[in-house]
Symmetry: C2
Subunit: 406 residues, 2 copies
C-alpha cells in the first residue's frame, strides 16, 4: 500500500516533496493558487522587467509526471484522530502523512500603519500593484510638470529590498527617463535598513560593495534606521525624523503563514515547532518544510526563509516518509548551505559561497544562470531569456503597463 | 507654427494618427490606460496562450520617436468656443485639432442580464477574468470527480467568437485534458450566432468550413439562434429554449464608446457623425477615426469596427490636418479593404482577399505572420513567437494561472 500524503502548499518545499515522492505515494497538493510563484524573480515583475505569467507555473503542470492530485483551496481544520484534513471547499482528505508547506507572509513586527499604507511583495498581485502604483504616480508627475517630487521608500535591506531598490533605480534612470525625463528626475528612491548594514548574511565587504553600487544608481541608503510608524505619504523613523513617502514598500521581513493556526499543531515564534527530523513535535505523521518550518541550523538559529532550504527539506521529508513506511527511524535534517547571491542591477551582483566571495559581471552572470536553471517550465525559461535579452540590449523595460484597473 | 493636436484614445486609430503626424504637429495622446491593447490577440490571453503583458504596449514607448506627449485620463468636456478639452485630472488642453479615437465598448443590444451575467472581451482585465473563470470552474470540476458538466457558451459568431471558441476548445481538449482528463471531458463549449452563418463578412464556403472545423474541435455551433435573456447559469434563447451556461462570454457586438457623450458632438447610431472627410459634422476642427467614427463605405453602410479601418483613418486624418493647416480642402476618406482573416485553431484559419479565398495551414501561417507584423514592439514579438513556438511544439498552454485573486 502506497502512503497517502497530503501536502499543504505548492511552493518550493511542497512541490519538491511531491516530485521526490513521485509515484511512490498517493500525493495530493493543496494550494490557494493554481500556480507556483517563483518568488526570487517577483521583484522583476514589480519593476516592469518580466511578465507576471513568466514567474508563475501551473501546479497541475508540475504534477503531471507524478500522478499527483491537486486541490485549489485552503485547509480549515485537521482531525488528528482520524487523520483527515478539511478544506474550505468542505472536501475532506484522508492522509497517512501531512506535509505543512504553506510558506510565509509579510511580517510587520507590530509596527503601526504597515498593513494600511505599505505595499507587500509576496504575491504576483502585490508585485503588479507595486508596478501599477509606480507607473501611476509617474504619470501624475508627468502631468504636473513642476518641481513636485515622488518619494519611493523601501523598508528592509535584505535581498528583496536590495534587488527591488536596484531594479527600481534602473527603471527610473533608464526607461522612465526616456518616457519623460523631467518626471523621472523628480523620483527619489530610499532604502531603509534597521541593522548596521545591507545583506547581513553576506560578508562585510560585499555589504559595503552593495551599498556603493546602489548609491551609484542613485538610491539613498539609510542603515541603522528603524521605522516607528507608516502613515499615508510619510514614514516616522525611530530617530524621530519624518520622511516623505508616497510609495512605501515593505520588504523588512516575513513570518510563517498564520493559516497554520487552523491545523492545531504546536508553534514556536510564528513557525511550526518541529523536531530535527522535521516531524511536528508530538505529531510524527505531520511534517513541516520551508518558511513555515521551525527547523534550526547547527548554530541553534532558525534556518533562513529561502527557496534552497525549502527544496532540500521537501526532498528530505519525501525520503523520510518512505523510510517511515518501511519501519525505519527518520533521520535528522541537515541544511547544506550552497551560498547566497543577490543582484543589484545590470552587470552588478554579489555572490558568496562559504569563504569564496565575488561581485560584478561574473557574479551577475552566475545569478542569471542559476535563476534560469531553477525557474520551472521551458516556456518560462524561453520567455524570461527573451525578456532579459531584450531589456539588456535595449536598456528598456517593456512591461510598464498599469494592469490593475479595468 | 505647428498645429496642436489632441488625440483622445491611444488605440490603433489614435496611435496611427500620432505617428503619422510625428514631429510636424504638437501632439498629445489621452488614454485611460498607459498602454495600447492589441485586441486581435486578446482571445489568446483568455485561453492561456499568451501572457497579458505581450498584447499590451506602453503608449509612451510608441510616442518616443514623435516627441508626442501622453496624458493618462479621460476627457470630461470640450469647450468648443475656446478649443480646449478638459480631462478628469482637471487639466485643460488647448487644441487646434481634436481627433476622437476612443474606440468601442461591448454592446448588449438591450438584452437583459448581459451586463450582470456575461463576461466581455474588450480589455486585458476582461480577458484575464475569462481565463480565471474558466480555470476556476475547471478546478471545481476536478474536485467534484462526478458527472457534473461545465457549460461555456459564447455568444456571437464573428471573428472574436469564432477565434475564442476554437482556442477554448483546444485548451480544453489539450492542456486541460492532460491536467485532469475526467474533468476536461465534462466541459461543453457552445457558440451561438443569431444570423444564419458564422463570419458573415466571409464567403459562404468559408463560413461553412469554419463551422465544420469548430465542430471537429468539439464545439456545438448554433446558428439562427438569438439570445433573449442571460441569467446566472442559464441563457434564454429566442426560440423559448433555456440552455445551461455557467460561463457566458459575450462577443456579439460592440458600439462606439459612450464617453463620446462628454464631448457634446453630433452622434449617429452610437457613433460620431462625420462627413466623408472624417470631420465631425459642423465641427471642422474635430475628427473621428476608428470604431467610434460614423464613416460609411461606398455601400452606404458603416465601415467595420476593425483595426485596419482605424489605422487607415488615423493616417488619413493626420494628412488632412496638415493639408488643412496649409489651407487646402480636406479629401474624402476611402477605405482600402485588404481582406479578412480569422483563425480557428492549430493549422486552421480562413482568409479572404477580395475574390481570393483560402483556408487551412497556409491561411493559418498568413494569419500568424500578419499578426506578428502588426504587433507593436520587438519584445512583444519575441515573447509571442516564443509562446507560440512553445505551445505549438508541446501542445501545451503555459499561462493557465488564475491571477485575479490575491
Amino acid at each position: 500500500m502506497k502512503p497517502r500524503v497530503v501536502i499543504l502548499g505548492g511552493g518550493f518545499g511542497g512541490l519538491a516533496a511531491a516530485k521526490a515522492l513521485g509515484k511512490r505515494a498517493i500525493v495530493t497538493v493543496v494550494d490557494r493558487h493554481n500556480y507556483q510563484t517563483f518568488l526570487p524573480l517577483l521583484y522583476q515583475v514589480s519593476t516592469a522587467g518580466l511578465a507576471a505569467d513568466h514567474v508563475a507555473y501551473p501546479i497541475r503542470g508540475a504534477l503531471r509526471e507524478t500522478n499527483g492530485k491537486f486541490r485549489m483551496g485552503s485547509p480549515i481544520s485537521v482531525d488528528h484522530k482520524n487523520k483527515t484534513v478539511k478544506l474550505d471547499s468542505s472536501e475532506v482528505l484522508d492522509f497517512d502523512h501531512l506535509i505543512v508547506a504553506m510558506g510565509s507572509v509579510t511580517a510587520d513586527f507590530g509596527i503601526p500603519g504597515v498593513a494600511e499604507h505599505a505595499l507587500g511583495m509576496k504575491t504576483i498581485s502585490e508585485a503588479l500593484e507595486i508596478r501599477a502604483e509606480v507607473m501611476r504616480r509617474f504619470e501624475d508627475l508627468c502631468r504636473f510638470e513642476d518641481e513636485t517630487r515622488l518619494h519611493i521608500v523601501l523598508v528592509g535591506g535584505g535581498p528583496t529590498g536590495v534587488e527591488l531598490a536596484g531594479a527600481l533605480a534602473e527603471l527610473v534612470r533608464g526607461p522612465l527617463k526616456n518616457d519623460q525625463a523631467h518626471a523621472a528626475k523628480h523620483i527619489d528612491i530610499t532604502l531603509i535598513e534597521a541593522g548596521p548594514r545591507l545583506l547581513p548574511m553576506f560578508d562585510d565587504s560585499l555589504s559595503q560593495k552593495t551599498k556603493e553600487e546602489l548609491e551609484s544608481l542613485g538610491v539613498t541608503v539609510l542603515c541603522n534606521t528603524s521605522v516607528k510608524e507608516v502613515e499615508s505619504r510619510k514614514i516616522h523613523l525611530g530617530n524621530g525624523e519624518v520622511i516623505a513617502s508616497e510609495i512605501t514598500i515593505w520588504a523588512a521581513g516575513v513570518k510563517g503563514s498564520p493559516d497554520m493556526d487552523y491545523l492545531n499543531i504546536p508553534k514556536v515564534s510564528n513557525r511550526v515547532d518541529v523536531d530535527e527530523t522535521l516531524q511536528v513535535r508530538h505529531y510524527p505523521h505531520i511534517w513541516a518544510v520551508g518558511d513555515i518550518s521551525g527547523a534550526k541550523g547547527e548554530d541553534g538559529k532558525f534556518l533562513p526563509m529561502i527557496a534552497p532550504v525549502a527544496m532540500q527539506q521537501g526532498r528530505f521529508v519525501a525520503d523520510q516518509i518512505l523510510r517511515f513506511e518501511k519501519g525505519s527511524t527518520p533521520l535528522k535534517f541537515v541544511y547544506k548551505d550552497k551560498g547566497s547571491m543577490a543582484t543589484i542591477g545590470r552587470n552588478k551582483a554579489v555572490v558568496q559561497v562559504k569563504k569564496i566571495k565575488f561581485s560584478g559581471f561574473i557574479a551577475w552572470s552566475a545569478w542569471l544562470f542559476l535563476h534560469l536553471f531553477y525557474l520551472m517550465g521551458g516556456r518560462n525559461r524561453i520567455g524570461t531569456i527573451a525578456d532579459w535579452f531584450w531589456n539588456y540590449l535595449t536598456f528598456d523595460r517593456g512591461n510598464r503597463h498599469i494592469l490593475d484597473s479595468q
